[in-house]
């Protein structure tokens, strides 16, 4: 079943890159007369209240959710790894200060932190991604530091310093590459978490502006129709679940 998770992620990435290969419908402009139709051969995921094809909206929406998740993971990965690297290699007071700050960051619930950042930055796809990314900085920093501390004490790093390498050069050439493995695995896991967090914020109305299709927004839009038109929430929801599960499974493999 290992290939299945890769297949799901590959499919969603393809949706994001070449959506027009997967659906011929316009995600923004529907046919009002064809509103609220159930799933059928013509409309795989049915249509919404203004007659837009839900499958088309999910496919076209993947680019927002995926790029958001990439930015979020990017922010977490870059900032977190840098801080972890600095703390782990410098040691002493710098280590103490950085890691205690990370402890503070960890103690704030993720969604609350993301909401706080959103209120500061204002809503929007990129801002949501940054907000989610900030929440994952601490996790990356801790992991990176632990690895760096291990690698920093190894013989080849001592040797590199002994042979005249500067602090920055040794960090860059020896410490960083050798401590990245677990960090990359965490990045894959965070990717799934970020999609979920971005969808959550989209659901709450902080993400992309309507009528932009964004997964969380799609789910949120459909929830009022739950009793009469189940497909509006259920099917986009199933897509999010599949992608998040697939990302988690891939992360396990990398590790």
């Amino acid at each position: 079943m290992r290939w299945l998770s890769w297949l799901v992620v590959a499919l969603v990435v393809l949706w994001a890159v070449v959506p027009w290969l997967f659906t011929g419908y316009d995600p923004l402009n529907g046919v009002p007369a064809e509103k609220l139709q159930g799933p059928s051969a013509a409309h795989w995921f049915g249509t919404d209240a203004v007659g837009r094809d839900v499958f088309a909206r999910v496919v076209h929406g993947s680019v927002h959710s995926l790029s958001g998740a990439f930015v979020a993971v990017g922010v977490g990965l870059v900032l977190g790894t840098l801080l972890g690297l600095l703390a782990g290699s410098a040691g002493g007071p710098a280590d103490e200060i950085i890691m205690r700050l990370m402890d503070v960051l960890l103690s704030v619930p993720g969604l609350l932190l993301a909401l706080t950042v959103i209120i500061l930055l204002g809503p929007g796809t990129v801002n949501v991604a940054i907000a989610v990314g900030v929440g994952s900085v601490a996790a990356f920093a801790r992991l990176a530091r632990a690895e760096v501390v291990r690698v920093r004490r190894s013989d080849y790093v001592e040797a590199a310093f002994g042979s005249g390498g500067t602090f920055v050069a040794v960090l860059w050439r020896h410490v960083l590459p050798n401590s990245l493995g677990p960090v990359v695995a965490l990045a894959a896991l965070q990717f799934g978490v970020a999609i979920l967090a971005i969808s959550t914020l989209g659901f709450l109305g902080y993400g992309a502006e309507p009528p932009t299709p964004e997964w969380g927004l799609l789910i949120s839009e459909g929830r009022n129709y739950l009793a009469t038109s189940w497909w509006l929430t259920t099917l986009p929801g199933a897509v999010v679940v599949a992608v998040v599960l697939a990302a988690g499974r891939i992360s396990k493999e990398i590790r």
């Binding site: 009002p32 209240a49 203004v50 502006e209």
Partner: protein
């Protein structure tokens, strides 16, 4: 008049309400024995689900429906507007005289009426109320009310007689004394500063119900006043209310309200969405769609915006909006397509459906003339500026987001981008007052008097278009000072024509208030603009 609650909170509230309603199963069954002969029964608890939490309960702000639903039960008014005939009938005032040019009103009050704190409802209390509603109070930060115009002063003639003077004719005042915002409160309440009058616990009225318990933003319990005996004389029911208790529970999620109703956990719900009407009817429940008789639900264009200052662009938007498609797609027969700025049941209405025909080619032509040319992505541009307009989703309007999305789709065909922003607490409060950021307002207002049009458009009232048009203000003021009904209606007609000609308004539909009611709830009644009155409601089960 919109809720600015972050959605997180609503989600949390949903969970709470879910719990509440699941524990509360069987509320209302306390009503006495079933009345086999159809005679009203005293007692019982009515569970009423409200869509949004009430905001500030200062009486003149009671126009917001969640506020009105509460205040209509705990306050009485000087006069009563019969919702069927729209005639003004006696209530707390047993009779009244108006001079010929409508600058002096004398009201004779009913005997023995008391507020729920025991103080008497006499001429002095009424005068104190209207002094604030008419002029506001800067020291207490109380704004004047939109239903009183040209107010000068009051005079307490004797304990049961009060006289009001106006510096210009104020023909709307008599109807103004019957509206929800003119509810009478005790002298102690009216002397409190704004922040305190906003709180329900401080609002002491003379109505058939009083506050029993409030959990802010979640639940309000109202209990019947045992000694209440001053219903409007034309009401069949007199004496105390039939119900013992009303539980008003805030339930923002549409699904939960309808689900609670059909499963028997609630007896009465406000705001059944168009797509749920069939579910409610199908379960054997009643859907009550009450007209609001005011300014229609529509899009209101702000001339202060740098793009919309051009009347050609405004007219193009008006022509390029297909209201029929909006109604047919999203709504039901309870939402008639608008034929003017005002509802066809409003006073002074004129049929302008000929001016409001959907005309895509005409709209495109106007935009071409105005110098907006289509850019590479299909959006029109002029001098490097894109034809892009902002609007906020209006929480209180039914299916606002879907409506705006559909309109955005229609405007997309014209090469106009409508930027739809969700109603969130962070930015809305500031941006909505900025014509540059919020070029379009999605709103409506209900009141069964000609003055409703002034409420919506005058720069000193709600001012939805952030008016820069002096002529419009003048027309509205002239209207509110015309004593003769015929001439006043003609002026209201002129204003409607002017609003359409200038492209300030894109009327969509006549908004009803839609309620879902369980079959055993009897005596359901509404005031003239569809706020529920629970006074004569009883439970037949």
């Amino acid at each position: 008049m919109s809720s600015t609650r972050p959605a997180v909170f609503s989600v949390a509230m949903l969970a709470v309400v879910g719990l509440l309603s699941s524990c509360g199963g069987g509320t209302g069954s306390a009503a006495g024995a079933k009345a086999a002969d159809g005679k009203p029964v005293y007692g019982g608890t009515l569970t009423y689900l409200e869509h949004q939490p009430p905001t500030c309960l200062y009486l003149p702000a009671a126009g917001f429906y969640p506020n009105g639903g509460v205040l209509n039960q705990i306050t009485d008014k000087l006069t009563w507007q019969n919702p069927e005939t729209l005639k003004i009938e006696p209530w707390i005032a047993t009779k009244w005289q108006v001079n010929d040019d409508a600058t002096e009103y004398t009201f004779h009050l009913r005997d023995g009426v008391t507020f729920s704190d025991g103080s008497p409802l006499d001429a002095a209390a009424v005068a104190a109320n209207f002094d604030v509603y008419g002029k506001g109070d800067e020291k207490l930060k109380l704004p004047p009310a939109e239903f009183v115009n040209n107010y000068e002063r009051s005079e307490v003639v004797d304990q049961k007689t009060v006289k009001f003077f106006f510096d210009k004719p104020s023909p709307g005042f008599l109807q103004g004394t019957s509206v929800i915002g003119a509810g009478l409160v005790s002298k102690k309440t009216i002397g409190l500063p704004y922040e305190e009058q906003c709180q329900l616990k401080n609002v002491i009225g003379s109505g058939p119900f009083t506050l029993a318990k409030q959990i802010v933003d979640k639940e309000i319990d109202l209990q019947a006043r045992k000694d209440y005996n001053w219903a409007p004389p034309s009401s069949k029911h007199q004496g105390r209310a039939y119900l013992d208790l009303i539980k008003i529970i805030v339930t923002p999620e549409d699904n939960v309200r309808v689900g609670a109703l059909t499963s028997g956990q609630a007896d009465y719900v406000r705001y059944v969405q168009a797509y749920d009407e069939q579910t409610v009817k199908g379960a054997g429940f009643t859907v009550k769609a009450e007209p609001t008789r005011g300014v229609n639900n529509g899009l209101y264009l702000r001339p202060g915006n740098s793009i919309l200052k051009d009347v050609k662009v405004r007219k193009a938007l008006q022509k390029g909006t297909n209201a029929k498609e909006v109604v047919d797609t999203l709504f039901t027969e309870n939402y008639p397509q608008a034929t003017s700025v005002l509802s066809h049941l409003a006073q002074g209405y004129v049929d302008l459906s000929k001016e409001l025909v959907y005309d895509l080619d005409g709209a495109n032509k106007l935009l071409d003339e105005a110098g907006w040319t289509r850019g590479a992505d299909g959006t029109r541009e002029k001098g490097g500026v894109k034809l892009q307009l902002g609007v906020f989703v209006a929480g209180p309007q039914p299916l606002s987001k879907q409506t705006l999305e559909l309109v955005a789709q229609q405007w997309g065909k014209l090469g106009i981008k409508l930027e739809i922003r969700p109603a969130d607490a962070g930015t809305m409060a500031v941006d909505i007052k900025d014509a540059e950021k919020t070029a379009v307002s999605h709103s409506m207002v209900g009141r069964a008097d000609q003055d409703v049009i002034k409420s919506q458009f005058h720069s000193k009232n709600r001012d939805v278009i952030l008016s820069t048009d002096k002529k419009l203000d003048t027309l509205l003021e002239e209207q509110s000072a015309l004593a003769d009904v015929g001439r006043r209606n003609a002026k209201v007609g002129e204003i409607q024509r002017y609003l359409i000609e200038q492209g300030y308004a894109i009327p969509l539909f006549e908004e009803p208030q839609v309620y879902g009611v369980a079959p055993y709830v009897q005596g359901v009644a509404f005031e003239a603009v569809a706020r529920p009155s629970f006074y004569s409601v009883w439970l037949n089960k």
